[in-house]
């Protein structure tokens, strides 16, 4: 399933369509969306509520499968893989930052960061996790459980977790949505700083114009359709 993508394109979507059943019949959430994202690029997906941003993010990250169309990751048809194969690629190549942090409540900050490293059988997960936690300024909070951390701290742990395996691609879903403005700024700085350091490709969904403006490119979704095709 190799595709002759132009050199440098890491992620590509072809004619993506997502439909779901609803009480009123079939509901089209995404309608024929095609786009390409180059390695190292940062892209913001913006649009009003219900425009399909998060659905698009889920499809691009392989968390969900499209009704029609395909997603290609590094030259391989990602969307044609089964759930377990997609999970394996996510573990190796993709990092996530979520609006509601999604730290595992049963694990300490350190253990949360260690988790993706352990899933790819990293030789020294604890050492690496400590280093990443230190890079987000939370070395002293390593053994805290999430519920003992502030919202900003939780999101920093989530960012550390996302970058721990040095993924080629990072997805962020409204990373500042649950934070106050000041903390939001700090988080954005941290996110872009790490992205630059790790040379990762960043795809983020946001309502925040300031956050979008810091990206290399902005894709605007409206009623499931891309207004500025890539």
């Amino acid at each position: 399933m190799e595709n002759d993508l132009s050199a440098g394109t890491l992620l590509r979507a072809d004619h993506l369509c997502k439909q779901v059943n609803s009480p009123d019949g079939i509901l089209t959430i995404l309608d024929d969306v095609s786009l390409g994202i180059r390695k190292g690029e940062s892209v913001a997906i913006v649009g009003p509520s219900g425009s399909g941003k998060t659905t698009l993010l889920g499809l691009l990250a392989g968390l969900d499968v499209p009704t029609r169309g395909s997603v290609w990751l590094d030259g391989m048809e990602f969307s044609a893989l089964d759930e377990d194969a997609r999970a394996a690629r996510r573990a190796r190549e993709i990092g996530f930052v979520f609006q509601s942090f999604h730290l595992l409540p049963g694990l300490t900050a350190l253990e949360n960061v260690m988790l993706p490293l352990e899933l790819v059988n990293h030789p020294a997960p604890e050492k690496s996790a400590h280093a990443v936690l230190a890079s987000v300024g939370l070395a002293a909070r390593a053994n805290y459980y999430p519920q003992k951390l502030s919202g900003g701290e939780q999101q920093r742990v989530a960012i550390a977790r996302a970058y721990a395996t040095e993924p080629a691609l990072l997805f962020a879903d409204e990373p500042t949505g649950n934070l106050d403005a000041a903390t939001g700024h700090l988080i954005i700085d941290l996110l872009f700083d790490l992205n630059t350091r790790h040379h990762a490709t960043l795809v983020l969904v946001t309502h925040d114009p300031e956050l979008a403006s810091r990206c290399d490119r902005t894709l605007s979704l409206h009623a499931g359709r891309l207004e500025q095709p890539a």
């Binding site: 759930e83 999970a87 394996a88 996510r90 573990a91 996530f96 790819v120």
Partner: protein, 829 residues
């Protein structure tokens, strides 16, 4: 390795946060019930097995209702074997004005040839091996004799014509049984005392035994020789025969206690399901995050599987330890029925219980948790995405298979398992239907009540499934305990009241022909009506219509016993009172001179007898043949001497017999029989009241043991309640927060909680009492043919116990809901 670590971390967290607590408690409780019974029965079984080799107190035993011919003893000694004599028979021990029916175990020097008797100075004292047998003039007695006669070591008691000194308490005899089978306590006596005691004469009912022990070759030689030439009436037993009656008794008690434990396990299973569902719903987000981070479906499932495994190990171990401690309680409850020094429990029941724990988790916790493997990873973006619901057949199928596996594990046989599960399912369904009906009633009541009550009762109907589960779980526990504690006693009392006030309460047996006049005179002297005396002869049925009895085919175990045992024959010219002819006719004066037989219905049915059949008996060596002319129905509870086989006077009256009678003695005259015994020491007197009391005591002890195990069922009911509270805790917290934000006082919320749980408990108690009453009615009217007069104590105890237990548990379990500041809850949600 990663999954192992992750599972351990998740387990640790689940444990700390309390998410796994209820599941752990329910598992521990189920295993505690199972392992308590397991450890207990294993200890008793080990005791029996350890003693199996010595259960005859010899290698070979010759046994007969007649003295064993001396030629056997001579042959054994000549072959190089050791021998000892044993005589077992019932008699009465007298001390002051007290009498007690006992089983004499008269033994000669050398007894026991295998194993050792253990005695102690005081009842229940530390036993030590006996070095010999009681010296002539002394006896060893079992603890019950000490208690019943209120005597101590060194006291003298009268047995027959002798005055014997109590030398020791006997705590173990190799051939003594554990008391499961023996209603009368044992008194060990030296055979040297028998002749002078006057207790044994030609027609006494004595079981004579010749014990033989020697080298295997000597024993096998003797056994082969004797087996070939054994006359009818002498039985040969070797150590391989063991003690089937003991094994059966233990087997039966194990099944009964295991059934009681099974109910706890199945009710705990409900709590396991509820708490596993709750855990699964709380774990869904974690599963989604893990999948988004790259964990596969199988990976998520393996983590959960491992978590369950850790839970099984930790809760299982706690349960097994609790069970181990609880079995001491069972041993205590059954003290006196068990050997004084039970061996330590083996480890096997622990593994068996852990296995049950795994089945419980696999059948009831696994399905909701395994479903989490299918959690869509996109849930990290959209919380409304959930794993697809489980297919009904998987959930119910696994639960049914697990229930069946657990039942089979506990009760061992397929048919019984099916009966138990069927019966249980029917009971639970009926209780559930009753619970539903009560909920509807409660719903209609709520309109006329205050806000607290209205809100509390509304809660019950909103969580209808949980409410029904809790009512049924408690209802079953209460029903069984009510049946055991109240109905059992009621049935016995009810039966007692159906007997006429002056129903005979004393049986006098072993009256020699020449003593008949003395006995009659004795009653006349005491101003009592002269009793009717019935002749009784020991005989063996040897053939039916000329076919040797061994060749007569019988269908049932009971029939086989009837066929092989020694029969008591009687003869009478007229049809005895309490007997009615059901077929054929009773002999007239002319026929009475012939050799005819009248047979009890049940006996005839067991042996397949027909009118006109001829029966051949061996009566003390003489052969008698009689033709059946009638079948009789016998009212056994008339407490008259009654016989399965009555012959015409012509058949039997010339043979030597002893005589038997029964009579009613008013309580103030009960002691006069002590004087009769003093005058005629060889008489044996059965006091029906004392035997009834003994039966009652045995039943009390046995049912106390079962009640003890059923306490776990009640505890399991409480855990179901905890699980249901936990399952709705988030919802309850949110609602309480909203109500308090709207201005509801804590008092109102507490009232609502109290209303909800006291109503739940009241309903559970009502259901339990109703079910117990229905079962009591069925048992009384349908099974035992007794009048049933309800018992208010069932209702009062059931309802008050249900209301109190459930209300207190419910209020305690939900108290945290009311203490969390509402703002915190609302912010979280």
């Amino acid at each position: 390795m990663t999954l192992l670590r992750l599972s351990l971390r998740q387990f640790r967290r689940g444990w700390k946060s309390g998410d796994l607590t209820v599941m752990a408690i329910s598992l521990a409780l189920a295993l505690a019930a199972v392992s308590a019974v397991g450890f207990f029965t294993a200890r008793v079984q080990t005791a029996v097995l350890e003693q199996a080799g010595e259960s005859l107190a010899a290698d070979l035993v010759l046994e007969s209702g007649e003295p064993i011919p001396p030629s056997y003893r001579k042959a054994a000694i000549e072959a190089g074997a050791r021998v000892a004599d044993v005589m077992d028979f019932p008699t009465v021990v007298v001390q002051g004005n007290n009498t007690l029916l006992v089983e004499v175990h008269a033994v000669s020097h050398g007894y026991p040839l295998r194993g050792q008797a253990r005695i102690s100075r005081q009842p229940f004292g530390t036993p030590h091996p006996a070095t010999g047998i009681p010296e002539p003039g002394t006896i060893w007695i079992e603890p019950r004799v000490f208690a019943s006669l209120n005597i101590k070591t060194g006291d003298e008691v009268q047995i027959g014509k002798l005055s014997e000194r109590v030398a020791a308490n006997v705590s173990y005899l190799p051939d003594g049984g554990f008391g499961f089978s023996a209603l009368a306590s044992k008194v060990v006596l030296n055979t040297a005392d028998i002749a002078a005691s006057g207790l044994v004469n030609a027609n006494s009912r004595v079981n004579y035994k010749l014990l033989v022990a020697g080298t295997p070759s000597v024993i096998s030689g003797l056994e082969t020789h004797w087996k070939q030439n054994l006359p009818t009436g002498i039985h040969l037993r070797d150590a391989r025969d063991g003690r089937p009656e003991m094994v059966n008794a233990i087997d039966r008690s194990q099944r009964f206690l295991s059934l009681a434990a099974l109910v706890s396990v199945l009710i705990s299973a409900v709590a396991v399901v509820l708490s596993a569902q709750r855990y699964a719903s709380r774990y869904t987000d974690t599963a989604a995050v893990l999948k988004s981070l790259g964990l596969t479906r199988r990976g998520v499932q393996n983590v959960l599987l491992l978590e369950l495994f850790w839970l099984g190990i930790v809760a299982g171990t706690a349960g097994v330890i609790t069970g181990y401690l609880a079995q001491f309680g069972l041993v205590h409850v059954l003290k006196g029925l068990l050997p004084a020094d039970l061996p330590a429990a083996p480890l096997t029941p622990a593994f068996s219980a852990l296995g049950i724990g795994l089945v419980l988790l696999a059948g009831f916790a696994l399905p909701p948790l395994m479903r989490l493997g299918d959690t869509p990873p996109a849930r990290v973006l959209r919380r409304d995405l959930s794993p697809p619901p489980l297919r009904g057949w998987i959930v119910y199928g696994l639960a049914i298979v697990a229930c069946f596996a657990l039942t089979l594990w506990q009760v061992k046989t397929l048919t019984l398992s099916l009966y138990v599960l069927g019966g249980l399912a029917l009971t639970l369904l009926l209780l559930a239907a009753g619970a539903l009906l009560l909920l509807f009633t409660v719903k209609s009541l709520r309109h006329g009540s205050g806000a607290g009550w209205r809100y509390g009762l509304a809660n019950l109907n909103r969580h209808r499934r949980d409410a029904i589960l809790q009512m049924v779980a408690f209802g079953v526990g209460l029903m069984v305990l009510l049946l055991l504690a109240i109905v059992r006693g009621d049935l016995l009392t009810s039966w007692r009241t159906t007997l006429p006030d002056n129903a005979p309460n004393q049986f006098i047996i072993n009256i020699q022909p020449e003593q008949r006049a003395t006995v009659r005179q004795f009653f006349r002297d005491h101003g009592l009506p002269e009793p009717v005396l019935y002749p009784m002869l020991h005989a063996r049925l040897t053939a039916i219509n000329g076919t040797p009895i061994e060749a007569v085919h019988v269908q049932t175990e009971r029939a086989r016993r009837m066929r092989d045992r020694e029969a008591n024959l009687s003869w009478s010219a007229s049809l005895p009172a309490a007997n009615t002819i059901t077929a054929g006719h009773w002999w007239n004066a002319a026929e009475a001179k012939l050799s005819l037989a009248s047979i009890e219905d049940g006996y005839a049915k067991d042996l397949g007898l027909k009118l006109g059949d001829t029966l051949t008996f061996n009566v003390g060596g003489a052969i008698i043949t009689a033709r059946i002319t009638s079948f009789r129905k016998v009212r056994w509870d008339s407490f008259q001497p009654n016989f399965f086989i009555e012959l015409s006077p012509g058949a039997l009256q010339d043979y030597p017999s002893t005589w038997i009678t029964s009579t009613y003695l008013p309580p103030d005259k009960a002691n006069i029989l002590v004087d009769l015994i003093r005058e005629l020491p060889a008489l044996t007197i059965f006091n029906v009241d004392a035997i009834m009391q003994q039966v009652r005591h045995l039943m009390d002890q046995a049912s106390l043991a079962v009640e003890y195990v059923f306490l776990f069922t009640l505890a399991a009911g409480i855990v179901v309640l905890l699980a249901a509270v936990q399952a709705t805790r988030d919802e309850r917290r949110f609602e309480a927060a909203v109500l308090r934000a709207l201005g509801a006082s804590r008092r109102l919320l507490r009232l609502a909680t109290a209303a909800e749980y006291s109503t739940l408990g009241f309903a559970a108690g009502l259901l339990g009492a109703l079910a117990a009453s229905v079962v009591a009615w069925v048992l009384a009217v349908r099974v035992f043919n007794l009048p049933y007069h309800g018992d208010w104590r069932i209702w009062v105890t059931g309802i008050s116990a249900g209301t109190l237990i459930v209300a207190i548990s419910g209020i305690l379990a939900t108290r945290k809901v009311l203490t969390v500041p509402p703002v915190e809850t609302l912010r979280e949600s």
